[in-house]
């Protein structure tokens, strides 16, 4: 066989490490930037950095290096998040944002299985996220169940409610399928608002998380230092996000991923070669919704409150735009995209009522100049270091 298995040792690892560090440092400064000048400076800096990276071929080096050491890349990413979090240990807001980014990333990893692999469109991501939050609200207030179990149950409930849509989702395609989920999202929000059983439009309070007596909502005292209680949620979310990431990645690089891709690209060819279309669509839809539900539960417990207005069609679109901006099908794209989509509007607070306008314009510009997203999906390689790159 003429495959080359040998070139993996050639690429050095330091470009990868440098890349991860640069991104980490940048994220840190971005999280902490408050003044207009700082935000603008960081924006300009990002552009210059990107130009410099591609001009001197650094991007390619980082990419090769990343492809060679996937484990290192993962570890690096986790380490970067942990470091950024550690440095901001008492900055509640920064930690809240970081955790939000991680939870949204988890949801989008799920959406990515749906949109990116099996081609099931879902414009009701926020609704399933919301189902998770509501499940957590109900179970945590009215049952003695351990909270980690509640998170898992929230995922289950979201997946189960999603299966109400299975029949129409399986029968429709493309824009028609989009309508089903759009209708469901709107229906969900309106229903919660009209029906008072779950708090109606005013929403519900959710108790903070508690695992084995460890109260997530209390600040952590270490010696003289008070660490923000958000660190609790951050660690949990990071764990969920990282595990999800690894699993999604494995799923992509397996026969499951292959089957889903074929279902997305050509149902006729798929059927001719025995691919069980319904099975993969259901798997993707259910997995994705379940992930949204779990993330929603943690998010709900962290913010302590849930109301229908959190889960509008607009919020579902935010999720979809993260998936698209990141580069559909590439889990690595989701993290930076989630950071941009969530943190940018927040950093634009200083332009007040103009921020949404500017934000929308920025997204359009990204779409025009990076039509395949920030990090376009790569060719599948089933096992690290194998010939496929």
């Amino acid at each position: 066989m003429s495959m080359q298995n040998s070139n993996s040792s050639a690429a050095p690892s330091w470009p990868l490490l440098t890349g991860v560090s640069v991104v980490g440092v940048y994220a840190h400064f971005l999280l902490h930037a408050e003044s207009q000048i700082a935000v603008l400076g960081l924006a300009v800096g990002a552009i210059l950095l990107l130009i410099a990276f591609s001009r001197f071929g650094w991007t390619a080096r980082v990419a090769t290096s990343a492809a060679t050491y996937p484990k290192l890349l993962g570890a690096g990413a986790v380490a970067a998040v942990v470091l950024v979090a550690a440095v901001s240990y008492e900055m509640h807001f920064a930690l809240l944002m970081l955790t939000t980014v991680l939870l949204y990333s988890t949801v989008c990893l799920g959406l990515n299985i749906q949109f990116g692999y099996s081609g099931v469109v879902n414009f009701a991501g926020a609704a399933f996220f919301g189902i998770g939050s509501y499940t957590a609200a109900v179970l945590a207030s009215h049952s003695p169940l351990p909270h980690l179990l509640i998170v898992a149950l929230a995922g289950l409930v979201a997946a189960l409610l999603g299966s109400l849509l299975i029949l129409p989702v399986l029968r429709t395609r493309g824009h028609y399928a989009a309508l089903i989920t759009i209708a469901f999202g709107i229906l969900f929000k309106t229903f919660l608002e009209v029906n008072d059983a779950l708090g109606g439009p005013q929403g519900l309070k959710i108790p903070g998380m508690e695992i084995l007596g460890w109260k997530f909502n209390d600040n952590i005292a270490i010696g003289d230092h008070e660490l923000s209680f958000y660190l609790n949620y951050l660690v949990l979310s990071l764990a969920l996000c990282a595990v999800t990431f690894v699993l999604v990645r494995r799923l992509e690089r397996s026969w499951m991923g292959l089957s889903m891709d074929v279902v997305r690209l050509d149902e006729t060819a798929a059927a001719t070669f025995g691919v069980d279309i319904a099975r993969w669509k259901i798997t993707a839809f259910t997995l994705g919704n379940g992930l949204a539900g779990m993330a929603g539960a943690i998010y709900g417990m962290m913010t302590g409150f849930v109301a229908p207005n959190n889960f509008t069609f607009g919020d579902s679109l935010i999720l979809v735009s993260i998936v698209i901006l990141g580069g559909i099908g590439n889990p690595w794209g989701i993290l930076p995209a989630a950071a941009i989509v969530l943190i940018l509007p927040e950093k634009l607070q200083f332009i007040q009522e103009y921020r949404f306008l500017l934000y929308a314009l920025l997204v359009i510009l990204i779409l025009l100049f990076r039509p395949d997203g920030l990090l376009p999906r790569k060719i599948r390689n089933y096992f690290p270091g194998d010939a496929g790159r």
Partner: protein, 368 residues
């Protein structure tokens, strides 16, 4: 002391600056900004104040986010916060947790103050309970008996529906039908046709200006002849402008607080507001935001920029003079509003009922 030598103290404003109800948020923001500017221009003030305004988009999750941002920033001493009730409900715990005193300037749900015992949470505007009690009694005293209710399905509309219906039945009014509508609904013809069939004397509307304008306009289109009665949410210039003089004529609204247009302080407010050339009007709740900001600024002047002290100072507010009348906080730090003011549109302007030709008997409400 020269202005530059004064220490800078930050206070926050939080409200909806984008989206459907942003008019009110921007009006509140401008009013708070006005209070800060006036204070900074005052040579007697001890500090230079800086306003940090944040947009909660009228969404609870965003609200919690920005509340955390403000509350976890210890340089921000206190806040003038929230127009939307669901957002306020979501954030009260955050303020409590971080110990930042805030005064709610627009959200009307009773539970915001009564649903917890957080010493940080105050409210200058009244709750929908006060408003609706007066509204129901006043209308029945005018001799009306039959109502149809339209309310939006947000916390605002649903709350108003609940309390108004309660007081109305107590005062002997009869409700022929209740219709919930979504906040972005455009067409009400089927609801109104149904109402036409029910032949009520009054249509009570619980919701905000944009919806109010649409419903009143479509009532006219369909020939629904009934008195139009709204809540505090329609008491805005935009309501009268959006309908035009003729259609708006005779519409009623009830709002907590003294009629600030008539108080000397209120006139100053209007004058100064105009001077700053804000692009947007203060809207109904701007004066509340202005009053809340001033209470906070006064407290800081008095006890210094310290959250706990400011909180305690605010807790004890009794008979504080503001442009919305005297403010006294009860044991839930809710302003015991001495007064609900009734307004009626007369010749394209909201006029205090007692001063209007209606109040004086020269013009008649519909069906009287």
């Amino acid at each position: 002391t020269p202005a530059s030598a004064r220490d800078t103290v930050k206070i926050a404003f939080i409200g909806p600056l984008t989206g459907g109800v942003s008019v009110n948020g921007i009006g509140g923001r401008n009013s708070t900004d006005l209070a800060v500017r006036l204070r900074n221009a005052d040579p007697k003030s001890k500090y230079r104040y800086e306003l940090v305004s944040l947009d909660d988009e009228c969404k609870p999750n965003v609200g919690v986010q920005v509340a955390t941002k403000a509350a976890s920033d210890n340089s921000i001493i206190a806040g003038v916060t929230h127009y939307c009730s669901a957002v306020a409900m979501g954030t009260v715990d955050v303020y409590h947790k971080f110990g930042m005193p805030v005064i709610v300037w627009g959200a009307v749900l009773p539970e915001i103050t009564y649903g917890n015992n957080h010493k940080e949470i105050h409210r200058v505007n009244g709750t929908m309970v006060n408003q609706n009690e007066v509204a129901a009694k006043f209308m029945t005293s005018q001799g009306y008996r039959k109502w149809a209710i339209i309310h939006d399905t947000t916390d605002y509309g649903k709350g108003h529906n609940k309390y108004f219906s309660e007081y109305l039945t107590k005062s002997g009014g009869q409700i022929l039908g209740t219709f919930g509508v979504t906040a972005d609904q455009q067409d009400f013809t089927s609801e109104l046709t149904k109402i036409k069939e029910l032949k009520p004397e009054v249509i009570f509307f619980g919701g905000l200006t944009p919806l109010g304008v649409r419903i009143r306009t479509q009532m006219d289109k369909l020939g629904v002849k009934a008195q139009f009665e709204g809540t505090s949410g329609i008491k805005s210039d935009a309501f009268a402008e959006g309908l035009g003089k003729d259609l708006a004529e005779g519409s009623l609204s009830f709002i907590e607080g003294a009629p600030w247009e008539k108080l000397p302080g209120g006139l100053v407010f209007t004058g100064k507001y105009a001077q700053q050339k804000y692009a947007e009007a203060p809207e109904a709740y701007g004066p509340f935001a202005f009053a809340a900001a001033n209470m906070i600024l006064d407290a800081i002047e008095k006890v210094g920029p310290n959250r706990k002290k400011v909180r305690d100072e605010l807790n004890n507010a009794k008979n504080v003079d503001t442009i919305i009348g005297k403010v006294t906080f009860d044991d839930h730090r809710q302003n015991i509003v001495p007064l609900i003011t009734k307004y009626v549109v007369q010749d394209g302007k909201w006029v205090v009922w007692e001063d209007s030709e209606y109040g004086k008997g020269k013009r008649k409400l519909m069906g009287r």
